[in-house]
């Protein structure tokens, strides 16, 4: 019986364990967390025959490398990147069979930001409040990977999914986010709302799993003063005093005191998660 586990050889810039998050605890101040590109996680898991919410690794820009301690099937998806096994090229986006002791190298993203590395049986770290996700804001779940970290894997499933390969949407050159105005659009001037709908921003390098920060025109407030702290939804476009919109992602705080001018459609947030710093961002209001 082999030891169903992996050892981290190269942790990369920021690699975390993620599943589909821990909804239902926002009233206690616990963010939902979970993979920033949940569609990529579902696809990786389908290709492995895992439950769609099995835990995977989420890399950031520079990938990661792991050594297997058992025979395991892996799939690398999300942001396209070179994949090698013991230094030899292997397939991205389709199942790769690994023998015990082999090193799976997930290279730097060629496009996009976050690659997802799934294994049959899923990463089996202990769940916290029903999820294995690392929540960077709250410090819940496993710490980000470090070189040498051992990761347990779950029991491999016997049945593989009906697909061996799948079409992967590529990260866009320009990030177009559909937004529904409100709840606090009334706190902004009509000119600011026109600016939101017509101008462009760029993704700031200060972006992280908590929020996509932007550089660009400032949104001018019509109502001064402080907003009493209120609940913040996923995708909230919060406007801090500098006027530059911040889009709240999975690790966002559950309450906050700056007005939310609009909320991004949930379906668009995965693309937000793959937008590299400098990407042009446009907001398209809909009713």
């Amino acid at each position: 019986m082999t030891d169903r586990a992996l050892t981290v050889v190269r942790a990369g810039a920021l690699t975390t364990v993620q599943d589909l998050g821990r909804p239902g605890y926002a009233h206690l101040g616990v963010p939902c967390s979970g993979a920033l590109d949940p569609e990529a996680v579902r696809l990786v898991n389908r290709l492995l025959g895992n439950e769609e919410g099995a835990a995977v690794l989420e890399t950031t820009l520079t990938g990661c490398a792991v050594r297997t301690r058992c025979a395991v099937t892996a799939v690398v998806g999300g942001a396209p990147c070179p994949v090698t096994v013991d230094g030899r090229p292997a397939a991205w986006g389709t199942p790769v069979r690994l023998a015990p002791g082999q090193v799976l190298e997930v290279g730097a993203a060629v496009r996009g930001l976050r690659s997802y590395v799934g294994f049959d049986g899923g990463v089996a770290v202990a769940p916290v409040l029903g999820s294995r996700s690392t929540d960077l804001l709250s410090g819940l779940g496993p710490a980000p990977l470090a070189d040498g970290t051992a990761l347990p894997l779950g029991a491999a499933t016997a049945v593989r999914g009906p697909v061996d390969a799948a079409p992967w949407p590529g990260p866009p050159d320009e990030l177009v986010l559909r937004v529904r105005l409100g709840p606090r659009d009334g706190w902004f001037t009509p000119a600011a709302l026109r600016t939101l709908a017509t101008r462009a921003w760029r993704v700031s390098s200060a972006s992280n799993r908590i929020g996509l920060r932007t550089r660009g025109p400032a949104l001018e407030r019509a109502v001064e003063g402080e907003l009493p702290s209120e609940g913040m939804p996923l995708g909230a476009v919060q406007v801090p005093p500098d006027g530059r919109p911040v889009v709240f992602l999975a690790d966002h705080p559950t309450t906050g005191g700056y007005p939310v001018v609009a909320v991004v459609r949930e379906a668009d947030l995965a693309r937000a998660a793959q937008a590299v710093p400098g990407t042009v961002v446009r907001f398209v209001p809909y009713r």
Partner: protein, 208 residues
């Protein structure tokens, strides 16, 4: 009492705005009562805050919004709620400043705080961090002009009309008046949070 406004929030969210903190707590309690009774449509999150309750993951938001606008919720009184005592050493670095802001002696400030019956109005900021009301507007204090980069876990603090206890070490701008050994947040415990919205709280003097 009725909702002052119900806003749509994105595709599947609603934000109910109330006229006061008390009305917000009453509306939140009514939402929980109806969810318990099975008469509220399924929602993913119910997040009370200072003057609002956010509902996320609502299947038919327009229909629920119309229903919420029609609710006339009774005031909260004598409801059965969980109650906890939190022993505090009143040794915080800002205690003297708070006493001065209140215009009382340090001894009197400790007495005022430890004799107040608090209730958790809402949570946020960090897992297990509760915003406790009860002191009243007479004792509101501003945040520190410069936030501390690290406030130790267990710090008992004041800001605006609220009292709170830091569940873990984090940056913070609240006025620190004491410390407690109580464990505010432990994900391995059921429930993980010592304080949740509605919990009644008394701080007892464990030293100075």
């Amino acid at each position: 009492m009725r909702a002052r406004e119900v806003f749509r929030v994105g595709e599947r969210g609603l934000l109910v705005e109330l006229v006061s903190g008390e009305a917000t707590e009453a509306f939140h309690a009514e939402l929980l009562r109806r969810r318990e009774a099975g008469t509220l449509p399924a929602v993913r999150e119910i997040v009370p805050a200072a003057r609002t309750v956010l509902l996320e993951g609502v299947a038919a938001p327009d229909r629920l919004a119309a229903e919420l606008r029609s609710w006339d919720v009774p005031v909260l009184h004598a409801r059965v709620a969980a109650s906890v005592e939190v022993p505090v050493r009143y040794d915080g670095p800002d205690l003297a400043d708070v006493a001065e802001l209140w215009g009382v002696s340090v001894e009197a400030a400790v007495r005022i705080h430890s004799e107040t019956r608090f209730r958790v109005a809402f949570c946020g900021f960090a897992p297990g961090f509760g915003y406790l009301t009860g002191l009243g507007s007479r004792y509101e204090v501003p945040r520190r002009a410069t936030p501390r980069t690290a406030v130790p876990a267990g710090s008992v603090a004041l800001a605006g009309p609220y009292t709170g206890v830091y569940p873990r070490s984090s940056p913070g701008g609240w006025q620190l008046i004491g410390t407690t050994d109580a464990v505010l947040w432990d994900p391995a415990r059921e429930p993980a949070a010592l304080l949740s919205p509605g919990t009644l709280v008394r701080f007892t003097v464990a030293g100075r």
